[in-house]
């Protein structure tokens, strides 16, 4: 279902063709990173820390090197040491520990051998001597005055650093007079919320192959959200120039933010350099869970004041995010994305806190779901206390264009109100709540980002085209690029071949994060097409014998008064005669990524004997600006919703006292599966983004923001119990129900 503001109608944009890569994906022909097999290829295995925090006293690889099939071993000594202020320092040390391990599973050495069994046996034979250090596993422990230091190379960002600290970042936003507004408010709700680490849960484990030639140049094949980022990070960790590394993108089996960084590539490249043979790494699921970035856990203390008429007057928030053994910007993004309501008085103190856990990584709308869990639960409670419909209270206070974000900048044109109205007008909202069930509503948003993208469009002799970009196809971007090019050029979408090229075959393109691919890379595609159209009109003018200004491009043909239209294929056929190949490249640093807002609605049933929550019905409404390919927009909304429901109900990292993850498999780390959930119903709202030629807003991240609070509010509606700690798993919910 789509709720569309007045916007132009398009011939191709907004249609639902089968994706160009669909046949390869469903027949198994598509090549993922672990599929590559090269002649002479070796297999790599990592040696990982069995301790949550320790000094490395010595590493003895002599026994391993003497084992059959073993070709090389690398340790931290094989990589340059970067200064802690270097932006690549933490990635470098996370890839390979230097003298100290910061979490259970941190890599301390790696082996390349002829077979996987030989590599694993050799890894087990490497002797590492450790001196154990105190393990810090909670935000409270890490922020205590006498806390052991988690990582001695850390320094605090955004404030004047005062030496060793477990604070990675400190961000403070405020406006108005929060204390005065709270004291004048008719109602004040104050609650504390806690969430634990959850994983992105992509189905494809990290994998790569690196092949270093005699000239010292390395080719890397890997799965990532941005192969240019893999190139620059790999080169930085190795101390190489970027030109020594070529990265070819494999298909990606999910990333959700977790594949915006690297773990394997520099190690594979160094082992390949040492052995002169290709080296392949493919993580196990256990390695993925133990050693790649989860989303951070959080602790949020929130106070919101309102007047009896429902006006929200003040918000006071203290928030801390546990970012693992290294600094991340998690707390900053949490603070920035909090509460898009008309709040004249606001105060947020946000802390990124180091703990002896895996380095946290981005996860769809990083840190916004935790913040929305707190804010949307408290707003729901205010509505309950005031006897107001929770959706109406949100509509009363919803931010519109010109209202201030938490960080103080006015919102551009946004569709928050429209998403709320879409839910209010939905059949779901206007249906009766099933007997015994509860209904919950919550909202969320993500800023989205633009950044750098490049695209090349080549027209072929017969009027077909190739669209070349540097953004990996994570959520259907090949189809989206082809649709925008088809709309511009006026040719059928299947006459266009969209490809994702390696780092030496297309212009620089930033990593796919911030829901930016369809927005920014799409804009590069549109710009390249428009350059081509200018060229085509000029060529047509030559053929027609008129001035270029007298020619227009209309529905796939050059048109000029008094002349027969010249279709694209007629012009490409005579390209040699009119000036040579028809090709155009566009690059940009895109600004104006429009925020995307969402409102979710859930009906749940709680089994009061077991604490089990069943989602009976779930509807997600989200502003896509303009949905280029509605099916893939809906897919993003559904995927984000499901991941958020899993976060709400079951997913959690469980650590022992030494920081070892105790549930490092999909048997024990409980992701929702299809049989757990109803079909997620979607309503695409279209409030076009004025900064994009087709009005696109990124849609990949926002969908995960509302579900945590949506489910919590629905459980409160069903049971009267407001859960403030995630996951709301059966044992925890049952305990809370028993305390009523």
């Amino acid at each position: 279902m789509t709720a569309t503001e007045n916007r132009p109608t398009y011939k191709y944009v907004g249609t639902r063709p089968v994706r160009h890569d669909g046949y390869d994906k469903v027949t198994g022909k598509a090549r993922f990173a672990a599929d590559l097999m090269l002649p002479g290829q070796l297999t790599g295995a990592m040696v990982r820390s069995p301790h949550g925090h320790a000094k490395i006293l010595s590493i003895d690889a002599s026994a391993a090197l003497a084992m059959p099939g073993v070709k090389a071993v690398v340790t931290g000594e094989d990589f340059p040491t970067l200064d802690p202020t270097d932006p690549n320092h933490d990635v470098s040390v996370n890839v390979m520990a230097r003298g100290e391990v910061y979490y259970h599973g941190h890599v301390v050495a790696a082996v390349a051998a002829t077979t996987k069994a030989e590599a694993q046996a050799a890894a087990a034979a490497i002797q590492v001597e450790y001196e154990l250090l105190p393990v810090v596993l909670s935000i409270d422990e890490a922020m205590a005055d006498d806390a052991p230091i988690v990582n001695s190379t850390n320094f605090t960002r955004f404030v004047e650093s005062t030496g060793e600290s477990n604070l990675g970042t400190v961000n403070k936003f405020d406006r108005g007079d929060v204390d005065a507004a709270m004291s004048d408010a008719d109602i004040v709700i104050e609650r504390e919320f806690n969430t634990v680490e959850v994983h992105q849960g992509y189905i494809e484990p990290h994998a790569c192959t690196a092949d270093t030639g005699a000239d010292g140049k390395t080719t890397v094949w890997c799965s990532s959200q941005g192969h240019f980022a893999v190139r620059s990070l790999t080169a930085a960790v190795l101390g190489w120039e970027n030109a020594r590394v070529k990265v070819t993108p494999a298909e990606i089996g999910g990333g959700f933010g977790g594949k915006t960084t690297i773990y394997l590539e520099p190690v594979a490249a160094r082992l390949s350099e040492k052995t002169g043979r290709p080296v392949k790494f493919a993580m196990s699921r256990e390695e993925v869970l133990r050693a790649t970035g989860p989303a951070p856990g959080s602790k949020i203390k929130l106070k919101v004041g309102a007047n009896n008429d429902g006006e929200l007057v003040a918000l006071d928030c203290w928030m801390a995010y546990a970012t693992g053994g290294f600094m991340s910007f998690a707390a900053m993004t949490g603070a920035m994305s909090i509460a898009s309501y008309k709040l004249p008085n606001l105060k947020i103190d946000a802390y990124g806190v180091l703990t002896n856990m895996p380095k946290s990584a981005a996860y769809r709308a990083p840190s916004a779901p935790q913040a929305a869990f707190a804010v949307e639960a408290v707003i729901d409670e205010i509505a309950e206390r005031l006897g107001r419909d929770p959706l109406d209270l949100r509509l009363q206070n919803a931010a519109v264009e010109g209202d201030l974000t938490a960080m103080g900048m006015p919102h551009p044109k946004i569709g928050f109100v429209e998403t709320l109205e879409a839910i209010k007008n939905s059949e779901h909202y206007n249906s009766a709540v099933p007997d015994g069930a509860g209904r919950g509503v919550a909202t969320g948003f993500w800023f989205n980002i633009g950044e750098q993208s490049s695209a090349t469009v080549n027209l072929n002799e017969d009027g077909t085209a190739t669209v070349i970009t540097g953004s990996p196809d994570i959520g259907g971007s090949r189809a989206s690029m082809a649709l925008m090019a088809a709309e511009e050029l006026g040719i059928d979408v299947y006459s266009i071949t969209p490809i994702v090229a390696d780092t030496e075959s297309v212009g620089f393109t930033d990593v796919t994060e911030g829901s930016r691919a369809t927005f920014a890379t799409g804009m590069a595609v549109v710009n390249a097409c428009r350059d081509l159209i200018t060229d085509l009109c000029g060529r047509a003018a030559k053929v027609m014998g008129v001035e270029a200004e007298a020619v227009q491009w209309v529905d796939g043909a050059a048109v000029s008064d008094g002349h027969d239209p010249l279709p694209l294929a007629a012009l490409t056929k005579q390209a040699k005669r009119t000036g040579g190949p028809l090709t155009a490249t566009a690059s940009l640093n895109a600004a104006g990524a429009g925020p995307s807002f969402a409102c979710h609605l859930a009906d749940v049933m709680v089994d009061e004997e077991t604490g089990q929550t069943t989602v009976l019905r779930y509807t997600a409404a989200q502003d896509a600006g303009t949905a280029i390919h509605p099916s893939y927009v809906e897919g993003q909304m559904q995927g984000g919703s499901v991941q958020g429901i899993g976060w709400a109900l079951n997913e959690e990292y469980i650590f022992d006292d030494d920081g070892a993850m105790e549930n490092a498999s999909f048997l024990d780390y409980r992701l929702p599966v299809a049989s757990d959930l109803p079909m997620i119903e979607t309503i695409i709202v279209e409030v076009p983004n004025p900064a994009h030629p087709y009005g696109v807003r990124g849609v990949g991240e926002t969908g995960i923001v509302p579900p945590l609070a949506t489910i919590a509010n629905a459980i409160a509606s069903a049971t009267g119990v407001r859960m403030t700690s995630l996951p709301m798993s059966p044992p925890k919910l049952l305990a809370a129900l028993n305390e009523r």
């Binding site: 960002r157 955004f158 404030v159 004047e160 400190v170 961000n171 403070k172 936003f173 405020d174 406006r175 992105q200 959700f256 933010g257 977790g258 915006t260 910007f329 900053m332 993004t333 920035m336 990584a361 981005a362 996860y363 769809r364 709308a365 990083p366 264009e401 960080m407 103080g408 900048m409 006015p410 919102h411 551009p412 044109k413 993500w446 800023f447 989205n448 980002i449 633009g450 950044e451 994060e513 911030g514 829901s515 930016r516 640093n589 600004a591 104006g592 990524a593 900064a691 991240e701």
Partner: protein, 75 residues
């Protein structure tokens, strides 16, 4: 950003002249030594409702409001 108020004595809104973000940052640094480096190393800029990464050469009009905000990322 609030954290930059340590340079400005708490002021959040400052009026300076400058035709580009670089010129504005230079003017701010002249008035509040150290603020320029802080803004250059950890800021995006909001202008006319759009957030700009790496905004150094962004052209600014006489009456424009320029917002220095934390650099945005995503997942």
């Amino acid at each position: 950003m609030a954290d930059h108020r340590r340079f400005t004595g708490g002021d959040q809104v400052i009026e300076v002249d400058g035709a580009t973000v670089a010129a504005i940052v230079a003017a701010l640094d002249e008035r509040y030594p150290g603020l320029g480096e802080a803004l250059n190393t950890a800021s995006s800029v909001g202008l006319h409702g759009e957030i700009h990464a790496e905004p150094t050469y962004l052209v600014v009009g006489d009456d424009d409001d320029v917002y220095f905000v934390a650099p945005l990322t995503g997942g």
